[in-house]
Amino acid sequence: MREKQEPHEGSFQRFDRTASSYELHEVMHEDGASQDGRMQHGQRRSERGGDGGIATALPDTAAGRHYQPTPLRDPDQLVNSGIAWFSIMLGVTQIVAPDVLARLIGVRPSANTRTIMRAIGARAVATGFGLLSHTKSTPWLWTRFAGDVVDLSMLGTGIGRRADDRQRAARAALAVGGVAALDFYAASRNQRTERARLEANGFASPEETVSGPLTYDNAAARGGGAEAATPNGLRGVLGDDAFAATMAGSKKVRHAVTINRSAQELYEFWHDFENLPKFMRHLDQVTTQEGGRSHWVTRGPGGAKVEWDAEIVADVPNELIAWQSLPHADVRNAGTVRFIPVPGGRGTEVHVELDDMLPGGSLGAAVAKLFRSDPRHQVRDDLKAFKSVMEAGEILYANIAEKQQAERDDFRRAKSDAEMGEVRG
């Protein structure tokens, strides 16, 4: 027997503290940034930050920033518009039928009450429209609350002496009190949210917050014209006014998917809008025309054709395509797709933002019905299909029932066999 047991050859590597046998992995970035280069990167950041700064490598432009998702739907907005409409309706009633309302709250109608009632009504209508204007909600809500308090005190002074008047007044006070509580809740909630938003950004200037798709500060991942691919790229391309016009009052949906293909391949496939029906299931056909224009066809319930024209409004090769329907179109929509290469050759992020079809007359309403209840699901499914087409070359059916369902589908049946075959086998 051996005196000392030898470890199996190559099986266990002994750890030696003194010899630094454990090596830290030195990460080299894809663009070949040297230690110096990364120091510069850190210095650049520290200059922006003002004090100290970070000396380590931060390859991502979003690193060290605060991510603030742009809310697709403001949760406060629903409560606020509810209050606004209530305010307007009550206000109008007070102006049109002041006596009825006076009796209802146990106050004897007179010229005096009529004037006061109408003044209160006018105030309610004004604050209602103020709230609906979607500018700062908080001051309008506090105005409403202050009005509620005034109303309550006036109720106290104007009550008649009869017992049922008192009863009515008590009920009215309860109702106004309830409304006051709701106004107080909404106002303070709005105020909190606004403050939280301010505080979240408090440490950072606007350019140090990011929203929407994050880009990568990586020479290898960037193919020039990087300006357009930055967050708010569409604003950059369209200019502030056009951007605001495109997005005002819109119902936006967003989704992103990573596809194992180059930005160029994906851009080129998408740029030919005639390819869109291959993965956008609700579309029947898109024909491209001169000058970036295209003609879109889908089908309403019962097979009625719905058509509109659209044009490309921004086009940065391999990076971004934005389109919107022409002003005269029955159906209004706008969309942006961004292609962002992932560093390390790990595919391309495809970010889509759709300003969904807005009702444009009865045709628009019919079109709206075509979409599933949640337009986010549609974008998600379409992008999944896009990924399948680009990677696997086909969209996989789980079973015959699913294929038959698809064939029963008006839109798909409308497609020619050749077109179907190209993608779906």
Binding site: E391, E394, N399, E402, R424, G425
Partner: protein, 391 residues
């Protein structure tokens, strides 16, 4: 054609169903010659896997002959003899690119459902519920194989059905269970479960250099097979109160270097903790019963590896995360990336270094599939593995 269908809890029925068709251009139709009942099919049988629908065709271990190919399948011709991996994989996404085929990003049409339950979706699987795509399975006379230009593995001449069949799932699964433990020569490996996957995990651990493999189960004939055919040191948990303590004793208090869970979501055991788990399962407070996994974690040596290849579907309660964190354990797991193991394991079979047929105890016809489930599930007639042949 005839197919074995899930008709509800503990109910299988061979029914007449429509023949499969080519639905996509990369599809092929395989006429099945041999198919098997997998231990994970028993989870379906027991009705504990969500998203099963009455009439679903079961089966994800199958092989046979190509009888029709889609327009885009150029590497297969009618008459080719193939064994088909249970994960459906496109071969072109970033997961497939690096060989992680069970994480294919394009093969699950119901990925949205899977995302709701698991956060992200994994691949589509034949005959395993609608969360994994709702694809028809292979316990049938014929099956549709999607992405057929990537999945099916051509069986070399001279290799029998029984030698090749288990490349579809359990042989690569047992192998991956051991491989991902990063076993060093001389190490001790413990394997929970002596079903077919456990047997292959034991054999693979030895192939990968383990000096001792300890197998844990309570079924005497399965322990005997692990001892006599796979070469394990066996441990019957019916005879031992405290399995981790017994493993400590067997390893000089150090614990096994690697622990492999080949049991999964319907573990059995003894004691108050097990009773509590059963109550939680029955009252739907957890979807999976982590009794074997918990033992594997507690038994593993400091800094060791816990490998999970038994199937889990949802959530467990009382998971010993403190033991994992403080003792620096590594958890490695996954549905098997079958595609990458088929050729190397076929090489071992052809070289005679691995004979996967030793687990087969029952050979019956597809017609008798329901009886096969009953035998396999109740461990009647010393059943280890049922192979169904289709004439």
């Amino acid at each position: 054609m005839k197919a074995n269908c899930w008709m509800g809890k503990n109910m299988m029925q061979v029914r007449e169903v429509p023949d499969p068709q080519i639905l996509n251009r990369r599809d092929a139709i395989v006429k099945i010659t041999s198919t098997a009942i997998c231990g994970s099919d028993l989870h379906l049988y027991h009705g504990v896997v969500p998203t099963m629908e009455k009439g679903d065709i079961i089966g994800h271990e199958f092989m046979g002959e190509i009888i029709e190919v889609g327009r885009d399948v150029s590497n297969l011709v009618v008459g080719d003899r193939v064994v088909v991996p249970f994960p459906i994989a496109c071969g072109h996404c970033s997961a497939c690119d690096v060989g992680l085929t069970s994480l294919c990003e394009n093969s699950n049409p119901n990925s949205a459902l899977a995302e709701t339950i698991m956060g992200h979706s994994a691949c589509g699987i034949y005959g395993y519920g609608h969360m994994t795509g709702g694809f028809a399975g292979g316990q049938a006379e014929m099956v549709r194989v999607p992405f057929a230009d990537f999945g099916p593995f051509k069986v070399p001449d001279g290799v029998s059905d029984e030698q090749a069949l288990f490349l579809s799932d359990i042989l690569p699964t047992g192998y991956m269970g051991a491989e991902q433990c990063d076993i060093k020569p001389g190490q001790t490996v413990a394997v929970w479960g002596c079903g077919p996957v456990g047997q292959f995990a034991i054999a693979s651990a030895y192939l990968l250099g383990a000096s001792r493999v300890i197998a844990i189960d309570n079924v005497p004939y399965r322990l005997r097979m692990a001892r006599e055919r796979a070469g394990a040191i066996t441990l019957n948990y019916d005879e031992i109160d405290d399995v981790p303590a017994a493993l400590k004793e067997l390893t000089g208090s150090r614990g096994p270097d690697a622990c492999i869970d080949c049991v999964g979501m319907e573990a059995q055991g003894h004691g108050p903790m097990y009773a509590v788990d059963k109550v939680k399962m029955a009252s739907k407070l957890q979807t999976d019963l982590p009794f074997a996994l918990r033992q594997a974690i507690l038994a593993c040596r400091n800094g060791g590896v816990v490998s999970i290849v038994g199937v889990y579907v949802g959530m467990v309660d009382a998971f010993p995360i403190g033991s994992i964190m403080n003792r620096g354990l590594r958890i490695v797991t996954g549905q098997t990336h079958v595609h990458r193991y088929m050729q190397p394991l076929m090489n071992l079979i052809q070289q005679g270094r691995l004979d996967p047929t030793f687990i087969i105890t029952h050979r019956m016809s597809l017609q008798d599939a329901p009886r096969g489930y009953e035998i396999f599930d109740n461990k009647l007639e010393n059943c280890e593995k049922v192979v169904l042949t289709v004439s």
